[in-house]
């Protein structure tokens, strides 16, 4: 069993509802918080940034309080977070943020700064003394079991089988705590230009070499795709039609 002095932190961010854009607790971070609370009754729940109202959601999901590490606009959250969680045994977070860049690199950067191992795509976490055993997500029903020595950074996969409960009474009882400001390095000037995502991104494809008529034929052929109806023929022919469709679209490997 876990020694009582184990210090566990859950890093939480402000997420974003995909339909409305409304700020909310990031679903992936909620899973991390829930996993942390299952490991220890006391968890330091940390957020680098403003004391946004969406953080109250984490109180509803079971955080006794959320400690807000103030972060000047345009500053890098890494340094204050690394300073705050230094000395912790386990740092949990979601694999990918819902708002902001969502590159999913923070756990790796934090692990490097703290010289800890980092495991992502975690579904389940078990503590075994000074090690953590992690069941990792792999696609198509595969799971991998990995052990790391503590202290470690673990990023939860969005499909982690947890059922966090939103409890209003717990929201009512919790508090947002303001931590003293820590030194944060400014982020380097961003080369990125962001725009509202209205246009579909263009696929990278070879330059068109076909001539006009062939291109036209190609365009017609792709538009009439889908909705095929197989009515006639024997059952075997129908089965073959299904297999042909699956093969043509590379949905099966045989």
């Amino acid at each position: 069993m876990m020694p009582p002095q184990l210090k566990i932190a859950a890093l939480v961010s402000v997420g974003r509802n995909p339909a409305s854009g409304a700020p909310r607790a990031a679903r992936n971070d909620v899973l991390a918080l829930d996993a942390a609370l299952a490991l220890a009754p006391e968890v330091s729940v940390l957020h680098a940034g403003d004391a946004a109202p969406a953080l109250y959601d984490y109180l509803a999901y079971g955080a006794a309080n959320v400690e807000v590490l103030p972060l000047p606009a345009g500053a890098d959250a890494l340094a204050p977070l690394a300073a705050r969680v230094a000395g912790y045994d386990l740092i949990l977070c979601g694999q990918r943020a819902e708002a902001g860049q969502g590159s999913g690199t923070l756990p790796y950067r934090l692990a490097k700064a703290l010289n800890m191992p980092v495991v992502s795509a975690a579904l389940e976490i078990t503590l075994l003394g000074d090690e953590a055993e992690i069941v990792q997500f792999l696609p198509k029903g595969q799971r991998r079991v990995v052990r790391v020595s503590l202290p470690a950074v673990i990023a939860l996969h969005p499909l982690a089988p947890r059922a966090p409960r939103y409890v209003y009474a717990s929201l009512r009882a919790g508090r947002l705590l303001s931590a003293p400001a820590l030194v944060a390095a400014p982020l380097p000037a961003s080369p990125w230009q962001s725009e509202p995502a209205v246009k579909k991104p263009q696929r990278l494809k070879p330059l068109e070499t076909r001539q006009g008529h062939a291109r036209l034929l190609g365009a017609i052929a792709t538009e009439s795709k889908g909705g095929a109806l197989v009515r006639e023929g024997s059952a075997a022919e129908k089965a073959r039609a299904i297999l042909d469709y699956l093969r043509t679209n590379r949905l099966i490997e045989f």
């Binding site: 939103y166 409890v167 209003y168």
Partner: protein
Amino acid sequence: MHSLDHLVTLFFWLAVAALAFGTMRRARLWRAGAAAPFNWAQLLTVPRRYLVDVHHVVARDPYIARTHMLVAGGAVAAMALVALNYGLMLYRPLLNGALVLAAAVMLGGSYLVWQRRRAPLPRLSAGPWNRLPYTLAAFAFGLLALALLPSALLSGFFAALIMLALLAGTAELVLGIGTGGPMKHAVAGVLHLAFHPRAERFAPRAERFAMRSTALRPLDLAAPVLGVEKPTDFRWNQLLGFDACVQCGKCEAACPAFAAGQPLNPKKFIQDMVLGLSGGSDAAFAGSPYPGITLGGHSGGPEEPILPALLAPETLWSCTTCRACVEECPMQIEHVDAIIDLRRFQTLARGALPGKGPEMLGNLRETATQGGYDNAARYHWAVDLNVRQIRPGESVDVLLVAGEGAFDMRYQRSLRALVKLLQAASVDFAILGALEVDTGDTARRLGDEATFQAQAVRLIATLSTLTFGRILTADPHVFHSLKNEYPALGGHFTVLHHTVFLAGLASSGQLKLGATSETRTITYHDPCYLGRYNGETEAPRALLRQIGVRLTEMERSGLRGRCCGGGGGAPLTDIPGTQRIPDIRIADARATGAGLVAVACPGCTAMLEGVVGPRPEVIDVAELLAAALEGQA
């Protein structure tokens, strides 16, 4: 031989003492509940409430109405006469003559009770209730013999026999309240009528029609306990109400969840709440269990959490809040209020909401829609209809509020039909557009009062910036919450359901309707939140008559209509049963031979259309009317 008379006097006062003692004992259990307003003067309302309101419900079953009139009337008269003649030691033969009459009436009634219980309906409880005809008859017989036969003529043996019969009958009548026997209902029932949690239910008829007292009470979100965790968290008059139950099972027979084999039985639920307040196991319950849950596995006490020891969560989440049980209950018990109180604690203090409930609540908080849609898309169905959108500063007569159905492609057809009708009648109307947020009604039924109040405050704030005469909606759930539940939160609006509004337009001639071309047999399904919750059963029928439809009514219709299964968030919690509620309702419709079911609610439309296999077509009243508009091809 005066000694027998004196013995009866002594016996009478002993019985009075036992009754008083028992009542006080029981009252102690009720008083453990939370505070509620109390005024002794309320007792004066009992005769009227009993003779008018209770009778109104009981009279639906003339046999039991007559039976109860004879038994209870005879018993009350007899006891009053015993009190007068023996209690006050008058011993007048004339009064004894009257006593003979009263006892005979009661004896006749007891015979009817006996008849009823020879082949009892499955909804009735057995157990101690089966002895009732005998103990009541013994009481009546004892009084009859006492009053009829001069005591001088009685042999000692016969006198002892009479006294024994009287003793048995009296024990049933006066010890019931203290021991929780069947006759508990008499005392608790009287007190329950006096101190009923919804006094508005007994308002004079006209007022009652305008406001059927179906709104839920707002919950103080700062209260130490949110909702009800243990029996003593109920208000004391709710506990008293549970004790009034006579286990007649009318609620059980009306409950759609019970019929569908979901683990809910309103009668058992009330009896479980009684167990909770008095303590004990449900092994002795003598009625139908919750479908799929065997008896004896649940027990509780006044300070024990009700879930899951006393009540399985599946039972709590099976309820569709259709109020069929409340409508049927002769004792005017408020089952749905108790369900919601329990749900409030489970949702707000435990977050223990099953199925897709939590997802829907999250959607509401984040998108102001139940389905997690982009709220700006709520009125996309109206873009090509040339409909005005309301703006602050511009006044309009009728404001159309679409509700969640606006995101459902099926119900958009109904909404478009409604717009067509409004335009045909030259109504000055506008839509709420992207300003609209969900009313929070479903959140409230699922116990999430916090989300409901947040939505309500938001919607009220929006509406208060706008200038309009009336709100019109095609969704009875929107209608109910805006009309009946928003006032308590400061939102006072005139709200109309589309059937009521259109009926008004049609009768004034503003809306010119022709005859329908529909030749199929048509039946009408009453939405619970329009019919039972708001008493509106006539307007849709009047409209259908106007276009020449001759309705074939289903067995359960009007105020006693059967739920489609879509209320109370039940499609979200989705508790499995042996069949689905909408399948039962469609079977009701099929039984009438109907080829078309007219509806007036997006929830009912979705539920009934979700029935697979051949079934009558489901069409909103507005669509039928739009197709029958005068002067169209």
